[in-house]
């Protein structure tokens, strides 16, 4: 068990990768065996991430060096710098890892019955597993170049998944847009990594953070990184790909592509807090991120209100919700250099932003899955053509209500808790920002009331008389997320204290991150 915990950072990446290459072989013989392999691999990944998380909360962060004599030997003998591939998993990384693994598991279970209608299932599962590899790798890596590699894995598999149903023209468009945006983003990241390597001859995040000078080249690199990851996160004004891509991605993969965007948010946070930390001009960078957040929040929700395509509507809400996270984290960055303000409200703001990531992954994931369930049963995503579905699809209706109440921040749901944390702390920083955030929350409620009313209530429509509830695996996939939402809503204190606050502390603790790799050097 102990050695399993020691090796769990790499196993959480390697096992889905192994399964991704096994599925094409097994898929040739039996599609049932293939489905089982996929689910088992993702369940094992989830288990590994959970035991790793338990150990990190108990005894601090984990360093794993690939190819070394022992996993903690980051700097080889006779070397002053870490030259090997290093994974560095702290409370924040593992927090994101839990989200990715959980959503991937729910999405894969949800996809099983869905894929019976489609051809090319083997390729679908290979891509789904590779997307999981990309997300977890991006979150666990301690090395900038590997961050780029995993970003590429995540982007290419995500683009292929988004364009999976090639019989629809809009699917090809959505997939292609995602591919172009990702390719540009990844190249910009590579350019920034090149800038660091040219200046410092280093790629390891901890080693770079230790010698970071914040020269004008570093400033350029920071701008490039914020732009690239902001683009992948679909923050306004770089959001144009998100509605097209999220609305066409098949079945369970929409939540996964969404969580992949959150992984890019993690990369942005990691770079701001750990790589640059207080060496950068924190209040300017903080305000830039706040402005990106407020724009995303407000423009996302105002465009969402008038959508009639249910998945496009949710995609615009996804943009708007990312704004909350950027707002919370931006406030945290803005006061990072000021210990008094950081203790007074900065930490709460960061915790609120981080807590919103997990809440959002859960309820947004659930809502995307219910929208896909409607599409699965009705064959349309147009809200104007739906109606009275609460009669035919009871469970889906319940799941939709849970998700909609949570996203609108209705107490006692989990969306309320994280939004309240953001409101409170942001109000102390700048009252106007908190007022905008509340307004956005009201608009969110308005648009979900509309979506609920037109899809689920109203008279029964004759053309949908034969529509039945979706198959069991889809319900199980949605159920996993719904149960987690209810749990998070009932015990917000427990969740904040066990997983959110350690993540915030580890983000702020830049020195701890550096010394665990660099040791006494």
């Amino acid at each position: 068990m102990q050695s399993l915990i020691i090796h769990s950072p790499i196993l959480a990446i390697a096992i889905p990768l192994l399964a991704a290459f096994l599925t094409p072989l097994i898929g040739k013989f039996s599609s049932k065996a293939r489905d089982i392999v996929v689910i088992v691999a993702l369940a094992v990944t989830e288990f590994l991430v959970l035991i790793l998380a338990r150990d990190i909360y108990a005894s601090g962060l984990h360093v794993y060096t690939l190819g070394a004599l022992s996993p903690t030997l980051a700097t080889p003998e006779n070397f002053m710098i870490p030259v090997r591939i290093v994974l560095e998993v702290d409370a924040m990384s593992v927090f994101m890892g839990i989200i990715s693994a959980t959503v991937a598991l729910a999405a894969a279970i949800y996809s099983i019955s869905f894929m019976k209608r489609e051809t090319g299932g083997t390729k679908f599962y290979t891509l789904l597993l590779l997307l999981t590899v990309g997300m977890i790798g991006l979150e666990f890596t301690g090395d900038l170049f590997n961050m780029f590699i995993f970003l590429e894995i995540l982007s290419i598999s995500g683009a292929a998944l988004a364009g999976f149903r090639i019989r629809y023209a809009d699917a090809i468009e959505g997939g292609f847009k995602y591919l172009v945006i990702s390719a540009i983003g990844a190249l910009v990241v590579l350019f920034a990594v090149g800038i660091f390597y040219g200046q410092y001859n280093l790629l390891n995040i901890a080693a770079l953070a230790k010698v970071m000078q914040y020269t004008s080249l570093d400033q350029l690199a920071l701008v490039l990184l914020i732009m690239a990851f902001g683009m992948k996160l679909a923050s306004v004004p770089m959001h144009m790909w998100a509605p097209d891509t999220y609305s066409v991605a098949p079945a369970g993969t929409t939540p996964m592509i969404y969580v992949a965007s959150q992984a890019c948010l993690y990369a942005l946070i990691r770079i701001c807090f750990t790589l640059y930390g207080v060496t950068m001009n924190t209040s300017t960078i903080g305000w830039i991120i706040i402005v990106l957040g407020v724009l995303s929040m407000f423009i996302g929700v105002t465009v969402a209100v008038k959508q009639t395509d249910i998945k496009r509507l949710m995609a615009y809400h996804a943009i708007s919700q990312s704004g909350y996270m950027l707002l919370g984290i931006g406030v945290g960055i803005a006061v990072l250099a000021d210990p008094v303000a950081l203790a007074a409200y900065g930490k709460t703001a960061i915790s609120g932003g981080i807590f919103h990531i997990v809440n959002n992954a859960l309820y947004k994931g659930l809502l995307f899955l219910t929208a896909e369930a409607l599409f699965f049963s009705l064959g349309t995503r147009d809200l104007n053509k739906m109606g009275g579905m609460a009669r035919n699809m009871k469970y889906t209706t319940i799941f939709f209500i849970i998700g909609a109440l949570a996203i609108s921040g209705i107490p006692p749901f989990n969306g309320f808790t994280s939004k309240l944390m953001i409101y409170e702390s942001v109000y102390q920083f700048s009252p106007l920002l908190a007022v905008i955030a509340m307004l956005v929350s009201i608009l969110t409620l308005a648009s979900f009331t509309k979506a609920f009313q037109s899809a689920f209530t109203g008279p029964a429509l004759p053309q949908y008389n034969n529509v039945k509830e979706v198959p069991k695996p889809m319900l199980i996939g949605m159920g996993i997320l719904a149960v987690l939402i209810v749990f998070f809503s009932l015990f917000p204190n427990l969740v904040v204290n066990t997983i959110v606050n350690p993540a915030t502390d580890s983000l702020i603790n830049q020195a701890g991150y550096i010394s665990s790799v660099m040791g006494g050097l």
Binding site: L17, L18, F21, L25, K28, L66, G67, L69, S70, T119
Partner: protein, 153 residues
Amino acid sequence: MMSKIVRTITNLFTPFIFMFGLYVIIHGHITPGGGFQGGAVFASGIALLIVAFNSKKVQKHLKEHHLSIIESSGALMFIGLAFAGLAFTFFFNILIGSPIFGQIPPEGSNPGFIWTAGVIPLMNIAVGLKVIAGLSAIVLVMALSSSNVRIEE
């Protein structure tokens, strides 16, 4: 199908292209190149065959079905070698000091000892297999679909 001159030259050339591709793969750890580069050279030989003869004729001897099995096996072999080091760490070079590729070369310039570097040559071979199969399949499928052949999933 192209003219007789092209086909004759292709027949003469392809064995050498294949041989050079395999050479680059196997010597990946001591000379420039490696699995990817050698695999690409090898696959370019296949591309030459497809251009000179036509894709349907090549398809008779080279099925996409088999190529995808080889591709997955290459990837599995690579990740399997990485898993083999798990007694120490993932990717640990277990073959150093063993009779297979285990020799440690003397310091200083040397003509190149092939029997060295542990798992790295094996990983080059695994990557080489994957790239040969993958690139050949891509070229073949593109050629087939441009000549309007329906390809099963």
